[in-house]
Amino acid sequence: MRTSFVLLAALGLAASAQAQDPGTAVRPFDKKHGGSPNMHMLAHVVTHPGAWKLADVEMEQDPNRPYVYACGFTNFDVQIYDVRDPSHPKKIYDWTIEHPELHRGIGAMDGKYFKIGNRYYYAQSYQFMQGSPDTDLGAVIFDVTGLPDASKVKVVARLRYPQAPGGFHNTFAYKHSDGRVLYFATVNEQKALVYDLDKVVSGADSSTWLIGSVPNPTPFKQIGTGSYHDFYVGYDPATHQDKFYGAGLGGYSVWDVTHPEAPKQLFTITGLGMDIAHTFTPSPDGRYAVTETEYQYTPLRVWDLSEGQSGKTQNLDLPISAWTADWRDLAHNHEVRWPYVFVSAYEDGLQVFDLKNPTQPKTDGYYYTCECTHEHGFGGTPDNGWESTISVEQGAFGVDVRNYDGLIALSDMRTGLWLFRMDGFKGWNGKEYGVRDISSVQDYDHGPVGAPSNGASAGARKQQR
């Protein structure tokens, strides 16, 4: 009997030890400076003079186009940096909404570049609030082919959606397997909008630009209008489907958007704590996913999507693991370069963890960029300077990774633009880790990896124009 108790106790201890993260002492807030020895800060640019500087950041991926786009947030501008020398970023272009002094809102939020034929474009999303001009403005599209000659940058289109004022908070540019370049946009309705960017930039009748929408199947109407917040779109070579991974108020959902005019729902993630779903990024094979929910103290969650992808279940509600830089804070956006996850972690700056064992995330490197006072983040209204004394929404907002050489760009709400390199990470194409070259980075010339040749041939057709 006594032996049995000892054995049970030992088994229980072993089980709890395996499940428990031993953790480390959290760093005092006033000691959050610098970074881990393997994370090298190459450059820091104070982009704006005021308290709030940047929202998201976007980096071009072609080796001959070393350009970084910094979204100016409440400054309402977009700045383009030439980073051919990453230690000395050079601002080469700055565009601001007309009459910025008359506008109110959170402004220039998200940026995505894309390529159609042999021309490069950049879409800057905007959000203006009631009482402001341009409340129907979702995005401004620039032709940036002529960079670094800033005089050749032109505004070629503006996406407006007066049916639901408030603009586009997040966007995703996607080279679809059918050859089209699509632009997915959040909007203040229970759906995401899908635009055909070739129609937008070619000057086609604006009534033809919007080709479809993806419903949010889990609208949590108690908060706002149940809209999406963010999404990722990727090709699944195993099923030959283009898949939309959406995070919206109420939960997460995965859709087959092979025919974007008629999306088909595949499965959802809902459950306690999932109401303010924010970001949803799968692994290259769609087996795993990293999600973020936007409230203080919540970690990033890691999911095994197998049973959803196979159709065995219609809803998942139990993650397999979780990761946080500091349980007192909140991590924001992330980019997955499997097994690495690059996180813009608000007050905790740039964080990188890996999912070599998806059930046990491991932190690989970090660099604190916020240089801010805890819980004095973004909130309130323009009239109080957007300052709050309860918010942890400040610091690292967006992150991007350049696949061909591993350069990391990070935008910080408080301190501006940062560039980094991490020891041992010299780029990513998936091969080193036994996965396909599938990430948020698009191959605009050839289409998605693993897609039938129609994607590539459509791209080739554009090239021949």
Partner: protein, 167 residues
Amino acid sequence: MSLFEAGRRIRRPATLLALVMFMTAGTAGPYDITLLSTPQAPGARGHARLIFAPSPFGVALTQDGHAVYDMQITASGLPQPSSLGAFTTYVAWAVSPDLTGWHRLGPVTNGTTTVGHADLNKFLLVITAEADTTGASSRGPTVLHGTSPSGWLQSFLTHPLFRGISQ
């Protein structure tokens, strides 16, 4: 002194009226526009009140039914226009929400000025420094601006950053 104690000390109607006026000062009503300053004139302050334009019928309307207002603008802290450049005066404009239509209302000074007319459903009230009071379009910097009360009627709350709360 608590509000209850303050109430006990009120003895005369004039005192009560003064207290009510004090407590409601700065409260924007459905005809009021709070004017915001800009970096060009950070010390400028102001507010405006929509008043119906003169009409034999009490309420002034256009033929297609839009209310016609004059703007009673109270401003302070406006610097000398010449301190901002080659400007001699300040001018108020009623501006369409898409910023394509700028309708000149009239000159504005520190103190209270009534200008008009504005007959847009929703509009921005913008005060700029100008070289003269007769220009058909604005050329100078904005020093004060606000939104007509009708411009605030639609709320769109789509993200925590928009809700006025952080979490």
